[in-house]
């Protein structure tokens, strides 16, 4: 299930800059994992040639460190179980992947904006108010009514 903390968490396992954190912690296997490949293709439009080479239509051949901050954060969400990551590093185009990752694990993230999780029903717990919501209408209202951002 996906759990979202809105605002500024004070917990010690919160990672504000997942881009930098990824560069210094990622494993080669993360890059070649089938789900990672799909996310890299969908978000960055890039193909994984190998664990140390990404073929980007915009940037040419680049190392994993040059992937977008969004897709790096997605991989951290998928492979790292010890931290809460700042999902404001992810744009709306990462939202379906966040929901998908959270289908297979309990995932807690931080957001500072109203990410669009789409029109399909979902289960998201707003950590600040311990409330589970099922639609964007419910999510946006709950966040704004409680002035969480």
């Amino acid at each position: 299930m996906l759990r979202i903390f809105y605002g500024e968490p004070e917990s010690q396992n919160y990672i504000f800059n997942p881009d930098a954190f990824f560069n210094n912690t990622y494993e080669d296997e993360w890059i070649t994992d089938p789900l990672s490949k799909q996310m890299i293709k969908d978000v960055d439009g890039s193909d994984v040639v190998g664990p140390r080479l990404i073929d980007s239509p915009f940037l040419g051949p680049v190392p994993a460190e040059r992937l977008s901050g969004g897709v790096k954060t997605l991989m951290l969400m998928n492979f790292d179980t010890d931290h809460i990551f700042n999902a404001s590093a992810c744009g709306d185009n990462c939202a379906p992947w966040i929901l998908r990752i959270a289908q297979n694990k309990d995932l807690t993230i931080r957001l500072g904006y109203l990410m669009d999780f789409g029109k399909d029903p979902f289960d998201i717990e707003i950590v600040n108010i311990h409330k589970v919501v099922h639609s964007m209408k419910e999510l946006n209202e709950s966040v704004l009514d409680n002035r969480l951002i």
Partner: protein, 320 residues
């Protein structure tokens, strides 16, 4: 700092154009649209100059401010365009807002989070858009990016508001109450606009806000309106004072309102809203139109002035 500046930066793979004309510009958008790459190019160019292989064309110095000793570095910058990435936690700090106020620099900030302590314009929130042709895309050549504005609201010609909501609680509210009568209510500040819309969400709403300083609020409200299908139009002229200056009852050179970047010095004005208010007060001082932001003077309530202001508002917003 005043002025409007075109920035063009490119290497052999990516090519960016953007124009900045106010002290604060915000870059948002999906992941992988090239925001971080833009800042990387500017940073590399600054570090290595011509040796970087990057071309940067701009009449002002462009620099990237990182979290390391940011206050110290910022204190040494002037007449520059300062780019800041979302990974710089200080952009949400009170100290940063204090240093932006009175700064001789323009700031271009990459962030999806709202920066509620900064009065930025809804007009200066941009998303990067790719505009490359297919051949170049396929051959991994340069991608041309242009900036596009978010939040362009379409105004329906059939729209008839049940409630007119103003961000302003003083002169602006008084004026619009004359125009819309009892339908008009004040939100008493921009941070209350959401709640007022929410309280009236079963009605057709016209919300009038000062666009020049509403940037931190517009994203939240836009998302709320979208997810809740609320029949609400946000009308966001620069400010109420901008409407008065545009109405032409005092002699104002066209470019004060049309090319405000020539006049609104970032050292003196945190937002163009402040500039328009100051300009109106100074240029009506000692005349029958002497302007007071807290109370609307009698001459502004006359039919002649009201009709002049109406003439610069979109027809669709006027009651039928």
């Amino acid at each position: 700092m005043t002025g409007k500046y075109n920035i063009e930066v490119y290497n052999n793979r990516v090519h960016y154009f953007l124009t900045v004309k106010r002290n604060i510009t915000i870059l948002q958008g999906n992941s992988a649209t090239g925001k971080t790459e833009l800042l990387r190019l500017i940073s590399d160019h600054e570090t290595n100059g011509v040796s970087s292989g990057i071309t940067l064309l701009c009449d002002k110095r462009c620099t990237v401010l990182t979290p390391v000793d940011w206050e110290l570095r910022l204190s040494g910058l002037e007449s520059s365009i300062v780019f800041i990435d979302k990974t710089a936690g200080f952009i949400k700090s009170k100290r940063f807002a204090e240093l932006v106020k009175g700064s001789d620099n323009y700031f271009v900030i990459v962030t999806r989070d709202d920066l509620s302590q900064l009065p930025y314009s809804i007009e200066e929130i941009y998303g990067l858009k790719n505009v490359s042709d297919n051949q170049k895309y396929k051959s991994y050549r340069r991608i041309y990016n242009e900036m596009y504005k978010l939040y362009d609201f379409n105004i329906s010609k059939e729209f008839e508001p049940d409630t007119v909501l103003t961000e302003d609680s003083h002169s602006g509210y008084e004026f619009f109450k004359l125009l819309y009568g009892e339908k008009c209510i004040s939100a008493k500040g921009k941070s209350n606009v959401y709640q007022c819309i929410r309280d009236n969400s079963d009605k057709q709403i016209l919300a009038i806000v000062d666009g020049a300083a509403f940037g931190a609020e517009i994203g939240k409200i836009y998302r709320y309106l979208d997810s809740n299908q609320v029949k609400c139009i946000i009308y966001a002229p620069e400010s109420f004072e901008f409407l008065l200056l545009s109405a032409g009852f005092i002699d104002v050179p066209d470019d004060v309102t049309d090319e405000t970047w020539k006049y609104a010095d970032s050292k003196l004005y945190m937002s163009w809203e402040e500039f328009y208010t100051d300009y109106l007060i100074k240029n009506t001082y000692g005349t029958i139109y002497q302007y007071n932001k807290t109370r609307l003077a009698a001459p502004y309530k006359t039919e002649g002035i009201i009709s002049k202001v109406i003439s610069v508002m979109p027809d669709e917003l006027l009651l039928k």
